[in-house]
Point group: C2
Chain length 146, copies 2
DNA sequence: ACTTGACCTCAACATATGTTCAACCGGCAG
DNA sequence: CTGCCGGTTGAACATATGTTGAGGTCAAGT
């Protein structure tokens, strides 16, 4: 039985198509390809052809940036997505994204609370020997293997 | 009745002091002053003198950046702080910050949900005439009244 | 054949967020 | 007095996130 060869994931959308669908400038579409947020094939005339997930990835990336993720972090997150992601794949990514946003909000809340509690790290008018900031409330946050 | 003149809010901390307390580079301290996150007086030798709120402002700014606020937005938020902020002033700022982080997380969640619901804006394999994205899930977000 | 429009690349520019460096000043210890 | 230490400035550099523009290609329409 000759199944039709899987069509290499119909990459049929042009830069302009994706730009319109995602509501960003074409330059941004090329930028997101360069940084790995989206991927493209090339057609006979060397033009980029995106699959239908591209506009979606960009929209999601924009939302993720809004809660503090870098383009690099977003590309890493999307790296797990299969080509032609299914609804459940998007669901998983969405969940990870929300979880990360909540992690950061929780950290914000916890560190602010720590700063206001006990020793009153803010408004420490007097010498109270500054209880050391807990790990996790220092500005570290790993900068990645890559 | 001669009350002692209010001591201009003891601005006694040097760039180095603040950098050490906030755990950032001295260059960052100058940067934050330039952008209005912290403010300084000058001493006789033209050196910056910060009040005790400076390291705190910087620490809070770092946390806020982590959830997606820009330095500009943070400076605007701090603009409401009185000189020599009290615990309650910090409490208010902290609450606004957490509220903003939550607003953004909620928007993330809502827009992701919208994208996955009904028309399946992602994975729209077929022509389903793309229900328009709701306002609020477009990348607008006002860019400031100078 | 010519024009048009959308694409291509690559470089320059622009803004945000910092760091580094050179050149200089001022106080304090030896 | 002489260093050194830490402060000052301004400029240059660096990275992230894009935009703009010059110069070229390619297919479609007239």
């Amino acid at each position: 039985m000759s199944h039709a060869v899987i069509p290499a994931l119909e990459a049929v959308f042009t830069v302009g198509d994706v730009a319109r669908d995602a509501d960003v400038a074409p330059s941004a579409v090329r930028f997101y390809e360069k940084t790995g947020v989206i991927t493209a094939q090339r057609d006979g005339g060397n033009q980029r052809r995106f699959d239908e997930s591209a506009p979606c990835r960009i929209k999601v990336a924009k939302l993720a940036q809004r809660v503090g993720l870098t383009v690099r972090e977003i590309a890493d997150l999307f790296a797990d997505l299969p080509p032609d992601p299914r609804s459940q794949d998007w669901g998983r990514v969405a969940a990870e994204l929300v979880a990360e946003a909540e992690r950061r909000t929780a950290e914000l809340r916890a560190c602010l609370a720590e700063m206001q509690s006990g020793g009153r790290l803010c408004e420490s008018v007097d010498r109270i020997p500054e209880p050391p900031t807990s790990p996790g409330c220092r500005g570290d946050h790993v900068r990645s293997s890559g």
